[in-house]
Symmetry: D3
Subunit: 236 residues, 6 copies
């Protein structure tokens, strides 16, 4: 069933995508309706990286990095390689040799539902990876997987050419068909957040900025001056 390699997919222009990295995972996630966020067990191997790019998808057998070798040849400037074992595995699929090869081809980073090794060297060369584990365990080259078929990574469906946004807050997938919407909505959200930020900076608080007071009162929110007042009321 596996052993399928689809060479090409529709990529988005990088200058079109780049505002999504500027906006960041949390903001874009909000902007597109709170969908597409990968599970929190994917963590960056070092803090501070922030990327966006076109998803190139790879499935690998547990403990087998064959398909990563196949993938290298297909990578292009601005890709983010999304790697998922066909069953749970935290072996060290990815290390500095791969990092150098992908960086040389302009790949932005790797999202890996598995283990990463050589993390210090990868940090030094500035090639970011979001992975499930840091684990040096080696892999073999025996079993085929697929490249550029849709897959599920950390709870989210990814199709080749979807936009991947990743930073210290985690990893987000934006379906290719929704990228324009994401750009517009993220820009609007940033503008709105900036407005709110000014109001907050001026001392206003969310209860007023978001008009929550009446709604909360209607739901039964009840204030007591102190514990004594509450005790009196609840016993009274």
């Amino acid at each position: 069933m596996s052993g399928i390699v689809v060479r090409n997919f529709q990529r988005s222009a990088l200058d079109r995508l780049s505002p999504l990295a500027g906006a960041g995972v949390a903001t874009v996630h909000e902007a597109i309706g709170r969908v597409g966020l990968m599970a929190s067990h994917l963590r960056p191997i070092y803090p501070g990286a922030s990327i966006v790019g076109n998803a190139l998808t790879v499935t690998v057998a547990p403990g087998d990095n064959t398909m990563l070798h196949v993938a290298v040849e297909l990578c292009q400037e601005g890709d983010v390689v999304v790697v998922v074992p066909t069953s749970p595995c935290e072996d060290g699929y990815f290390g500095d040799l791969f990092g150098g090869a992908l960086k040389g081809r302009g790949v932005r980073g790797v999202v890996l539902e598995g283990g990463c090794r050589d993390v210090r060297t990868l940090h030094e060369m500035g090639f970011p990876v979001w992975s499930k584990a840091i684990f040096a365990q080696g892999t073999v080259k025996e079993t085929l997987g697929d490249i550029n078929l849709p897959l599920v990574c950390a709870g989210q469906r990814v199709e080749p050419g979807d936009a991947i946004v990743a930073d210290d807050d985690g990893v987000l997938v934006v379906p290719r068909a929704r990228i324009d919407e994401a750009l517009t909505a993220a820009a609007a959200r940033i503008e709105k957040e900036e407005r709110n930020r000014l109001r907050f900076a001026a001392g206003e608080i969310g209860l007023d900025v978001y008009g929550m007071r009446e709604k909360l009162a209607a739901k039964g929110l009840t204030y007591y001056d102190d514990a004594a007042a509450y005790a009196k009321r609840s016993n009274g």
Copy 2:
């Protein structure tokens, strides 16, 4: 049942509390008899922060940050906001907008049995959070919780006005009634540790500093020069 907001509680003077931050979680925890340490899954979102303050307690519904908005208004200089979902949830309850609002009010930090987002910005603004996860997942504003009622956070009971000490070693709660005792005991412990440190620096070791040798011999501790000697003895 929920929807209770107790506005005020007894706060301790900040200059009184501050030696507890200086002593640190591990030392104060020892000093007060090894109670009050929250579970190790609460981790700081960046290393190096060290705080103490008065606990302001907030319960939130899973996936719902309504009560955090209510809490902002009640916060005062020197508070530490302790946030606990009413059932396990790692959604991103807290981000940079809240961070800015709380920092502006002098809040020392947040302890959150849930998820935190915007961690890079929070690091840049120097507002520390100890959380169960880093997760950008958004929350809604539909369901009430309580403010300033006692709660359980990461295995420890917290009452409003308890002292919260947090640093790279974790999070500790010191009941308000025991703060003076904690201060005295922590000072004594630091003095004792300093004396021990000098003895250790002079080359003494715990077996002598703590007078353990006789007790260990009585328990049956047996030394062998090497594996051969042990093998001979255990077979002999």
Copy 3:
């Protein structure tokens, strides 16, 4: 049954071991045939440390650090202390006082299937620990364990005098009898990796460097130009 202390064991000369730290966990692990890697839940308490040394093994009762005190006296320059509770426990067995004592004796670091505390001070003093948790929970001094008997740490058998290599990628044990083999194999691997690195830097990829193309074709790897071509083929 416990309470056994074996004072001495065969140590390897430190200048003989040091190339293993230079090679690093991932490389030595590959070089010796992918054995001996401890589980990924052991993490360094701060990034950047890289050590090698002779294993001194300690078992401790859950919540009891008695045997660590016994171990201090036996430590020598270049040792790595491997500490394992006799049942799962994440209490804070190790802190800055122990760190100072061990550092003063030339110990290279600690591998601890338990909890570590005072992590900031340990970082400042440059004494590395790889542990299962960061947890300030105190321990008692009541129950005996063993020193310098073989044990299992994070899934790997360790005998006193085995070489321990540890860095940001994790912790590796090299049996004493295989140290020469490890040195030779690691050197060879580094040389080979360097050759490969040059080829990769020159633009070659693993499919060619490792001669994978024919083997993959034989396994049935099939390329399609794009999703449309794949869809056509798979339906055709």
Copy 4:
């Protein structure tokens, strides 16, 4: 600090409590406002048990069952013994000898934030335990804990004399002061659930029984006949 044994506490009459076992954990939990439910990692060692009783609380050191021996003497007919290690530990604190002793004294069961052993024999003798793990690991008798002080078990505060309800759905604590309220509310809830059950059995559904339709429409719930209709609408 520890070593406190409080012999007596206020117990509720057993025939007063027994309707809570009949109602079951899920129903009583709803009835008292969804508080007091212990974390889901506490599981019964065999299915089918259903108990209620007065909480007798015990803290134990990690890997040390001293205080369980102390507790046996204090147990009375209808007690439920709640056992919590002072730091996380899954050792086998409880086995068939304890089970026999407690059963002989009329204890209803044990809630144990640790490990249980001899589970087959306990099943055969019909003595139920809700525990975090099944683990035969032995414990020592060296370190004191406390009996009948308040504690936190699996995320919930328990005071001696609180009612503990436990069945296949988990473990619930009902504060002693709220037992009457719980009885009344549980009875009312059962009556209401029975009424609803009849309506459901007659083919009605929750949307109508709970009057949800208008509220959902107001929130924007939108029906489409099929995927084609939805696709048309969302693109239209």
Copy 5:
């Protein structure tokens, strides 16, 4: 963004699907090329159930079962309801009232990436649920989700109308377009397994049945009569 309800989807005839339940999860999973198996944390609330049906998909907010109420009305004979929170949550979304309602409509069972309660009653009424947790925690009715849109459950993509097969081995999704292929392949596999079973029963073993001996020898498999022979060879 949410609040979409698609009423209808293409269902497969139940007598067509039923052989998949007979074949079981493990066999069908093999037959369709080892895809579609949900993660192992989904476990049946009682052993022995074995179902197949048409997936009706529901997303719910964390701690909110609104959409389950909406779903009841849409269920038909032979459906399997697949329920996924929009972020990780183990609250008790599903209990006996829902179980009765769904059973009355001919629903085969529920697959729930959350918590289940009333498990004893559900067992007694013979309504099976595969869930992530058993947890009585109640939910609210405030926030919308979606019905019959594609979703990801326990790592697998599910579309409305896909076939769900579930038994003691776990939960499998078979895309609707592949059901015929699954039926044919499962039948072939059963036949082949039966043939193999006869050969195994006659004393043959996999090395011969699957023709592995030569391949293994080529890979370097080496037999030694005993440990002494191996030691001699590896040192020789």
Copy 6:
């Protein structure tokens, strides 16, 4: 490095071993000094099985069951097959076909640091497995492991020919050299437990049976009649 198959090892006579199964995991574990107990994540796939046998050890690559096929041929009456992946993996290495083959050869059961499938059929045929997970995920036949070399399973060292005892309490390894000691000690322990059981049945309790009262008093155990007495004392 792998691909080693050691055909034979020293087995213990089955009638010599069988009292260890009668004594059970918890008792034998106590009898031999509380060593050798595997981690609690190994659970039986069905309750009630109780076995003892000679360990035949197998390492497998992640997601690869090649070596299980090799092992079948080497199994003899009374063996217990211990299977460990070379890195963490929960794939379904073992199912009913293997179960039938091993049962036919008199194998007592399987201990598997991985996943098991066909659990219902295995239950029906009465072939017990203790595994880390129940997971139907298929495996490949590409990569070699070793047979009958020492390995680590669930935290414990196992050598071929060690005795494996397994029941509802978990899995225990008894080194071959200690089997006689284990038999004697287990018999003594059972006798002692029986004596104690009679005393407990007669109403005595552990405090007296084990002579703990004086020791506890010396450690500072302090009794208070009730909470009021304790409050008075601790404040007085």
